[in-house]
């Protein structure tokens, strides 16, 4: 999906007051890491902060960040589409990333993925109908000694995954509220291509 028709220039904030407070604090810290004239460099951190709040990167939020850091919309989009951790559409409230790289593959990641598919009733790249889970294959997580490995909700590692530990994980997450996703479409000028 490639979002189209972003306008440069002032863009309204996509955040609630509570979210805004956290975002502003995070951005201030991220910008302070760089020399004063290099604040554009904080773009990658800024998009992480957006995703922390909204669960994904809606188009108006990208426009807002671009405006703040004085980065042209095309460059914000370039970055957002280049890196795999950024979500360009809402995903499930819990996200399961199954490592498919060589060590995990050798230790049975294919059956881990298959079990996820069966239990959740979705294929990689999809979200369950109730919005609780999304499933994805991910590249090497640097946890090869604990193969097969999973990444839960972008940042939490589960290693030496067995059928039992996987079932337990899915059962636990199934009963937890998880990350609230900002709705797709609201105030968005996105076009699917």
């Amino acid at each position: 999906m490639i979002p189209l028709a972003t306008k440069a220039g002032p863009a309204p904030s996509p955040f609630s007051p509570e979210q805004q407070k956290r975002f502003d604090a995070g951005l201030e810290k991220a910008v302070a890491k760089y020399p004063r004239e290099r604040r554009k460099a904080a773009l990658i951190a800024a998009l992480h902060l957006v995703q922390d709040e909204l669960g994904w990167l809606p188009e108006p939020a990208m426009a807002y960040v671009g405006d703040l850091l004085e980065v042209p919309p095309v460059r914000v989009r370039e970055v957002a589409t280049f890196y795999t951790m950024y979500r360009l559409r809402p995903v499930g409230r819990h996200h399961i990333g199954v490592c498919n790289s060589i060590s995990c593959w050798a230790m049975g990641s294919t059956s881990v993925l298959r079990r996820c598919e069966e239990k959740l009733g979705i294929r990689p790249g999809e979200t369950t109908r109730d919005g609780q889970f999304s499933l994805e294959e991910v590249a090497c997580l640097a946890a090869c000694g604990g193969a097969p490995a999973l990444l839960v909700n972008n940042f939490t590692y589960l290693e030496k995954v067995t059928a039992e530990s996987l079932d337990q994980l899915l059962a636990d997450l199934g009963s937890q509220p998880g990350k609230q996703m900002a709705p797709a479409g609201a105030g968005s000028t996105e076009t699917e291509r």
Binding site: Y83, M85, I102, S103, A106, M107, A142, A143, C144
Partner: protein, 419 residues
């Protein structure tokens, strides 16, 4: 397990990551010593130590630091590559989790040596709430103790250190792609020269030393014992110290093991990893990450240092060793690896973008049982055409396994194809 342990000596202790524990085991003693030396003296010791970059290329660290020192343009930067992502590699994560202060002490000394006052640790985004959180706590502690900040330990040396995150891209482990990402852009590798160490090529176009986490974690030991003593630990000339071997695959005890640089793959397997898992016989070895050319079981006696493996047309790479048993068909293993490279090619150079995609499609066809003999030959030929034609080494890193898996395990491919 036998042999000297520099990096992992305290790993078995409870809370090995804490400042108190690190100090109790002699930590932060090299820092005041280093700050009492001339920066050039430190670099001279690192040169004598024959410390080679542990990220993958094995470039002599002391030489790299001398390049940066020779530059007359200021400011200079030292940037740490903690974007661990080469399939099979998981040692920097362990360092950050288990001895972040050792790494940090090395980083501070390294910055003093190249006269850097602002340093960044670029870490893969997935580590944000685990390894990187632990490093951030260590950084905060170091500031509180006066190891970072203004006038460190009264030496007059100032250093600011920041942790920053990527967002999921293998290519950002390539040093110039990492610098692009650190500057807030997509990770397209830069055309070289100028190299990062030179003016015009580094972070914000300033001279920049880019070092791996493990490389820097060795610095306190070098300052403490001297370059010559460190060099002698290595088993092969010009390959000093120990190395963290990240072992995965069908071994009894996968994990990160510290062994003298240059240990043979047989010894690493038998003495450290408990041999192959029950009922397994060794079939093949990835010696240095997914980008390296494969070894057969008969080649397990090869030394694992940078120069030996280079001479044998493979590489020591990131120290990621994967042992495969007889259950693995090497055509299927290559198809897996190639899917990774096709996915991770940044798309900037045509031979890589198109080449990895073609190789992946052909190999998928082969493992699906729909291939012909000609397809195997085509994989080999396409791989040869990708070499030495691109801005960075990703294409070469895809071509090297493609050629070697076929050269050494042709029967595995032929078993899957017609004709």
């Amino acid at each position: 397990m036998s042999g000297p342990r520099i990096l992992t000596a305290a790993w078995d202790e409870p809370e090995s990551w804490s400042l108190a524990r690190y100090r109790a085991s002699g930590g932060y003693k090299s820092l005041p010593k280093a700050l009492g030396m001339q920066p050039q003296q430190i670099v001279d010791e690192v040169v004598k130590a024959n410390l080679r970059g542990r990220g993958g290329a094995g470039f002599p660290t002391g030489m790299k630091w001398n390049f940066v020192r020779k530059e007359t343009s200021f400011p200079k930067y030292l940037v740490v590559n903690a974007d661990e992502g080469e399939p099979g590699t998981f040692k920097d994560r362990e360092i950050l989790l288990r001895s972040p202060h050792m790494f940090l002490e090395g980083l501070i000394i390294g910055c003093y040596a190249v006269e850097c006052h602002l340093t960044y640790v670029y870490c893969r985004g997935e580590f944000r709430q685990s390894a990187m959180q632990r490093l951030q706590s260590a950084v905060d502690e170091a500031y509180a103790e006066g190891f970072l900040g203004k006038n460190i330990l009264g030496s007059g040396f100032d250093l600011e250190a920041h942790c920053v995150f990527g967002a999921g891209a293998y290519i950002c482990g390539e040093e110039t792609a990492m610098l692009e990402s650190l500057e807030g852009r997509k990770g397209y590798p830069r055309l070289k020269p100028p190299f990062p160490a030179n003016a015009g090529g580094g972070l914000f176009k300033q001279p920049t030393a880019v070092n791996n986490v493990e490389t820097l974690a060795n610095i306190p030991a070098i300052v403490e014992m001297g370059g010559e003593a460190f060099d002698k630990i290595g088993l092969v000339p010009k390959n000093g110290g120990t190395r963290l071997y990240a072992v995965s695959g069908h071994v009894k005890k996968p994990g990160v093991y510290e062994a003298p640089m240059g240990i043979s793959f047989r010894k690493l397997l038998d003495d450290y990893c408990g041999g192959m898992r029950a009922g397994s016989t060794l079939k093949a070895i990835i010696p240095g990450g997914a980008s390296s050319a494969i070894l057969t079981a008969e080649e397990a006696d090869w030394a694992s240092d940078f120069d030996t493996l280079k001479a044998k047309k493979t590489m020591a790479g990131s120290g990621a060793v994967v042992y495969f048993d007889q259950s693995v068909n090497m055509a299927q293993a290559l198809a897996n690896i190639m899917r990774f490279f096709a996915h991770e090619s940044c798309g900037q150079c045509t031979p890589c973008r198109e080449g990895t995609a073609w190789l992946s499609r052909l190999l998928d066809k082969i493992v699906a049982g729909k291939g012909e003999k000609q397809d195997v030959d085509n994989v080999h030929q396409i791989a040869r055409q990708m070499e030495m034609k691109t801005i960075c080494a990703l294409a070469d890193g895809a071509a090297m396994p493609a050629k070697s898996y076929i050269d050494k395990f042709r029967a595995d491919f032929d078993a899957l194809v017609r004709g």
